[in-house]
């Protein structure tokens, strides 16, 4: 049980909240809200409007998990984290789930003691340059000034890339995407490097997006995914299978609009298992049978979430690319619901 009473700094009692040790699921249920770490602001992935309502691709994952666990996609407390604070926020138990375009790497998995529950976006680090520079390849960036967002694997990849190609560059480390954009637009750096999705997201907000190109070189693999703390496998499973449910839903054509019809029963046993009309998968997870239905209803299946937040019809305008379903030539592949 987690009891958090705030009485102000002067009152000694009530300052200590209960234990956050083992069962994250129980904590979340007792609290009634999911604490979800997101980026402080990256267009398309997570941003808050004037009334403080969060939206975006990463945000949708949080909402789906909240819907699955608590039955309410709005029962999420979003905790804006920076590249610097995100891991400590998760490790300290301040947040239950981190959905903030975080790259799955061995050291984060093993050394920092986190558990990545899957990949919700396959990304890679790229370069954005103004067209007028006439640069067509990242290898032509010898001597260039490159803006990087700090607190990510970006600066290490960049150093490796330039060292491997034996060319020089000048790094400009910047804390937030907003600042980086500002410097890049003003010409304080020749190139801006971060994950290609982020580049596209930023480019979309420029006054004239066509004046900038993303160079063909993708210098790293950046599988971005939500993560939880090591050691609470039950909670990790819930997050993992919620994500899988969203992906599988797209694969089997379950959308937020036709889900109610499908609930009546379909010929496809896998769909039935996902929707909980057959089998007891929800129970195994420690949830009820409708968990996946609620998760899918929260923001639609993976494809719907993608299209709504960052797809080609939005200002971000990202193509599915690697993130298409495996049947459509991408590498998005949900583990079977069985």
């Amino acid at each position: 049980m987690k009891k958090s009473v705030f009485l102000g700094a002067l009152t000694v009692a009530g300052m200590v909240a209960g234990s956050a040790a083992a069962a994250t699921l129980d904590d979340v249920k007792a609290r009634g809200t999911l604490n979800c770490g997101v980026s402080t602001g990256l267009p398309g992935f997570s941003s808050a409007d004037e009334s403080g309502h969060w939206e975006g691709f990463d945000v949708a994952v949080c909402r789906a998990v909240a819907a699955a666990v608590l039955g309410d996609p709005e029962a999420v407390e979003f905790v804006p984290t920076t590249g610097k604070t995100r891991f400590t926020a998760l490790a300290s138990g301040e947040i239950d789930l981190l959905a903030r375009n975080t790259t799955w790497t061995l050291s984060r998995d093993v050394d920092l003691k986190f558990e990545f529950v899957g990949v919700n976006y396959y990304d890679g680090q790229g370069f954005l340059v103004p067209k007028e520079l006439g640069v067509t390849s990242a290898k032509e960036l010898d001597g260039a000034t490159v803006c990087i967002q700090t607190g990510t694997t970006t600066e290490l990849n960049l150093a490796d890339f330039f060292r491997a190609n034996n060319i020089s560059y000048e790094p400009v480390p910047i804390e937030t995407n907003t600042e980086a954009r500002q410097q890049y637009i003003a010409g304080a750096c020749d190139a801006y490097t971060t994950d290609a999705s982020g580049l596209a997201a930023s480019r979309a907000t420029f006054e004239d997006p066509t004046a900038h190109v993303i160079l063909p070189e993708i210098i790293s693999k950046e599988p971005l995914g939500p993560l939880v703390r090591h050691g609470d496998n039950a909670w990790g499973d819930i997050a993992r299978w919620t994500l899988n449910a969203l992906i599988a839903a797209e694969e089997y054509g379950i959308t937020s609009t036709n889900i109610d019809e499908m609930l009546a029963g379909t010929d496809n046993p896998e769909i039935n298992r996902i929707l909980g009309t057959e089998g007891n998968l929800g129970e195994m997870l420690g949830l009820d049978a409708d968990w996946a239905v609620r998760a899918i209803k929260a923001g639609g299946n993976y494809g719907e979430i993608f299209a709504k937040n960052i797809g080609e019809d939005t200002t971000i305008g990202l193509a599915r690319g690697l993130n298409a379903q495996w049947k459509d030539g991408g590498i998005l592949y949900s583990m079977p619901f069985r």
Partner: protein
């Protein structure tokens, strides 16, 4: 005959620990010490247990591993294959650089503003008041990001210098370029350079010392010392005869002529920045993050120093000025011989704390991406290695050392100028 009796020896009772003033102070101290040790032990115990739960045993081994990231502004050579410790050293030097530059600029601007605020020119004193209030009442972090934004948004990008009809030009006969990446100024080059000496071999602290710089600095220093001898002689003559011999041309000569000669021998010429490729090449380059931080910190601190200077001058009673005037001293002499020496005693202690504040505020470099200690050790290193406890601990200790060193030096100076009360 009287007999001396020993005072009645009380047997020790437990309540005396509380009620007897002989023992009470001891009791309180021991209780305080036990409380403190318990607190420390409790914190240590918690930390150890938490870290064990997280599987992160405290270890400083990461300091010896390759950092893997690059730093754009450095006083000593560094590349991404150097260790985290070396990166931290680069960061410390950057912190010191901006602190020293900032203190110098803040003092100059602050004294100027403080004196001008006392000016009898209405408009000037009002302007200075506005300056002081404006800078004092807005958070320094806001000034830093604001200055950075001004540099980025208003100065031309290097690409504006390009083409047949560039929209931006260099200044001072094409030797200085102000861009929104930083300022490029000419650098001194020596055709007959003496070379560098490499100190500390391959160790973490290794750095190169330019022999040219040593030669020039020592010549200049010698010149200043000799010029001091001239002044002493002039003082002696003045005391003996009442007439002060004119020595200023001698003194100027000893200071500058040998230095100029050394520069000629070394073959001084200037390397100008030139637009090549993406950036200007050649010349000395100051990144705009350094400039923004430097400007913002020194302008902000200058507002406080101005108030200190003004307060110091006002604190000297008017009688002092009048007495000096009655002795027949001119205004300038009154200032330099009577007011300033006294005002300095009032000014220096708060000035020390302003220098300390500036140094500590330089840790806000992280907001503009200047790679100081917070940016390297407590920033990227902490982030890449996940060693928050160790890096923050080391960082705090380094800042503490710097602060204590500054106060020690300044306090020593303060003791020298302090009024010897008898």
């Amino acid at each position: 005959m009287t007999t001396m009796t020993d005072p009645h020896r009380e047997s020790f009772r437990l309540s005396m620990l509380l009620y007897d003033s002989r023992y009470r102070s001891m009791t309180i101290q021991i209780v305080a010490l036990i409380g403190f040790l318990t607190l420390i032990g409790w914190l240590f115990n918690n930390t150890a247990q938490n870290l064990a739960d997280l599987g992160k045993e405290p270890s400083f081994r990461f300091l010896g591993e390759a950092a893997g990231y690059d730093i754009n502004q450095m006083l000593v050579e560094y590349n991404n294959q150097d260790t985290h410790l070396r990166a931290a050293f680069v960061g410390v030097l950057n912190t010191l650089l901006v602190a020293v530059l900032g203190c110098l600029a803040a003092t100059i601007v602050g004294v100027l503003i403080g004196v001008l605020r006392l000016s009898n020119n209405w408009i000037v004193s009002r302007l200075m008041t506005i300056y002081v209030e404006m800078f004092r009442n807005v958070p320094v972090l806001l000034w830093i990001v604001f200055t950075m934004a001004v540099l980025i948004e208003t100065l031309p990008a290097p690409r504006d210098f390009r083409g047949d009809d560039p929209s931006a030009t260099m200044y001072l006969w094409d030797t200085v370029a102000f861009t929104n990446r930083g300022f490029y100024i000419p650098e001194p080059l020596f055709t007959r350079s003496l070379g560098d000496i490499h100190l500390f071999g391959d160790a973490m602290l290794r750095f190169n010392l330019s022999l040219d710089l040593i030669a020039i600095a020592s010549t200049l220093l010698a010149g200043i010392l000799i010029s001091g001898l001239f002044k002493k002689r002039a003082d002696r003559v003045q005391e003996a005869t009442g007439l002060r011999p004119k020595t200023w041309y001698w003194r100027l000569g000893v200071v500058f002529l040998p230095t100029i000669a050394v520069l000629m021998i070394l073959g001084l010429n200037w390397g100008h920045p030139e637009l090549k490729g993406f950036n200007f090449q050649g010349g000395t380059y100051m990144r705009n993050s350094l400039i923004a931080l430097w400007l913002a910190l020194s302008l902000y601190t200058a507002a406080f120093i101005a108030e200190i200077v003004r307060g110091g001058i006002l604190a000297i009673s008017k009688g002092q000025t009048e007495a000096a005037a009655a002795l027949g001293l001119r205004n300038r002499r009154i200032m330099s011989l009577v007011i300033l020496p006294q005002a300095l005693r009032v000014i220096i202690p708060p000035l020390i704390s302003q220098y300390l504040n500036l140094t500590k505020n330089s840790s806000l470099a992280i907001a503009v991406g200047y790679m100081d200690l917070t940016g390297t050790l407590m920033g990227i290193t902490a982030n890449q290695t996940g060693r928050e406890l160790e890096t923050v601990l080391i960082g705090m200790l380094i800042y503490l050392t710097i602060s204590l060193a500054i106060s020690a030096v300044m306090n020593a100076y303060n003791n020298r100028v302090k009024l010897r009360e008898r």
